[in-house]
């Protein structure tokens, strides 16, 4: 589709791209909310698990001086944002790819980054909604003490933590065919969550699992999230968790890049 129109001199490309990005984000969010299979499960699962394991079952339990209810507030916030990113970007993008929709978008002058960022911001928004739900439940029903700076740190980790898993979703979408995308995503997401200590505190898991955990990005993000209110694993520093997440992000971006190049060559 080519147009022989001259761009408006009054409107710079940057401002137009920004406008496209905002529109794209807005409708990506609306679309995700309307897709109940996504929105209900993305928000519902972490909230339900937190109610079951954090509020009903382990109310007064502690492990190494850490209250389960508070620990699980952080870990289910991670579980939520990871799910929103993996399913929103991974499965969502795989769907757009298989429908040929992305091809049409790419034939238009839409900047590709606007599309990807819109999906990423949408996942962040879902992560934030999940965090708000969990905090409300924790404070009202679980007697969790949470100060505003602590909450702000949790929010910041939720937003930043979305990025590595956006990259993982991107890699998955480019490798896995759409009809098997939800299944394969779950196959990675659920074990990764359990072994990373998102469902039950890592300290009560078997020793073998505790050795595997530092290999998982979920573990590192959970440790950072826990540091929001001073729950820290004494054996590892915050810097090592950041490095773990950064390395994971780079690996996923690399895989996504290779997969993207292969797709381009094949088509």
């Amino acid at each position: 589709m080519s147009t022989a129109t001259i761009p408006f001199p009054t409107q710079s490309t940057t401002s137009r791209n920004l406008r496209i990005f905002l529109t794209e984000t807005r409708y990506e969010f609306i679309r995700s909310l309307r897709t109940r299979a996504f929105s209900l499960s993305a928000i519902g699962f972490p909230v339900m698990f937190y109610c079951l394991f954090g509020l009903m079952m382990n109310r007064n339990a502690t492990a190494h001086g850490q209250s389960f209810t508070q620990y699980l507030l952080a870990s289910y916030a991670v579980f939520g944002v990871v799910g929103a990113a993996l399913f929103g970007i991974g499965v969502g993008l795989a769907g757009d790819l298989s429908a040929g929709w992305l091809e049409l978008k790419r034939a238009s002058p839409m900047p590709p980054l606007a599309y990807l960022l819109a999906k990423c911001i949408t996942a962040m928004a879902f992560g934030t909604i999940i965090l708000l739900c969990l905090c409300t439940l924790g404070i009202t029903l679980g007697h969790v003490q949470l100060t505003l700076p602590e909450f702000s740190r949790m929010l910041a980790f939720t937003l930043v933590g979305c990025l590595p898993f956006t990259c993982m979703g991107l890699a998955l979408a480019l490798i896995v065919p759409f009809n098997s995308a939800p299944g394969i995503t779950n196959l990675l997401y659920l074990p990764m969550s359990f072994l990373g200590g998102l469902w039950i505190p890592i300290s009560v898991l078997p020793k073998a699992v505790q050795h595997i955990a530092p290999l998982l990005p979920t573990y590192h993000l959970a440790q950072l999230m826990l540091s929001s209110f001073g729950y820290q694993d004494t054996t590892q520093s915050a810097a090592s968790h950041w490095c773990g997440l950064a390395a994971f992000t780079m690996i996923m971006l690399g895989i996504a890049w290779i997969a993207f190049r292969r797709r381009e060559q094949n088509s």
Binding site: A4, P7, I20, T23, A99, G100, W101, S108, P109
Partner: protein, 236 residues
Amino acid sequence: MLQVGRAPEMLRVREHITIFRGYYPNPTPYAELIKIAGLEGLEQRLFGELSGGQKQRVLFALSLAGNPDLVFLDEPTVGLDIESRRGMWAQIRALAAAGKTVLLTTHYLEEADALAHRIIVINQGRVVCEGTPAEVKSMGANIASATTSTASTGASTTVNAGLKIIRCITTLTPDHLLAMPGVVNVDELNGLTILTSSTPESTLREMLALDQHLSALEVQSPALEDAFLALTSNRD
């Protein structure tokens, strides 16, 4: 317009169009797009709720969102019912009338016949022929007659837009008919004589004069479909 199966289902028609208009510096006015694509009354529907023809019309609207002067339509009427297809044709004609260049690919030959000013027939990646619908038809008819008739003369190698097919029941023999000027091919089928002539008017006058009992007369332009088959099967 690509042969894309579906757009995201959970967005409304209005939202899809708004998004795509935003991509272009000088978009087609919203109301105009709705009108061109015949989407009045469907604007609030989710894409997933639309019928096949309605979906196709939304994709058509999206392809025009940037107010392009050159429009590529890749099989826009695939899977449409007759009514929607005719509607789409009217919209495509309106585009051409508005001075836009439309490049349309199609497998429906009647569609090319009805819409195109210029047809290019491509077989296995190679251009077989090009011209107006009438030219393409006569090229096809020429090739068909050149291969089926042993007595065809030089007439079959020249492009003649006036080539017509005459069907009738007549007592005149095929050899006699072939000898007439302008006649390039004669066939008999179930008692019906089918002849191709480059000068149909004079051929008819002569036939009517010679055979007083000539009946069941029919004169047709060669169908594009026949031309297509002739053109693609003979140049392999």
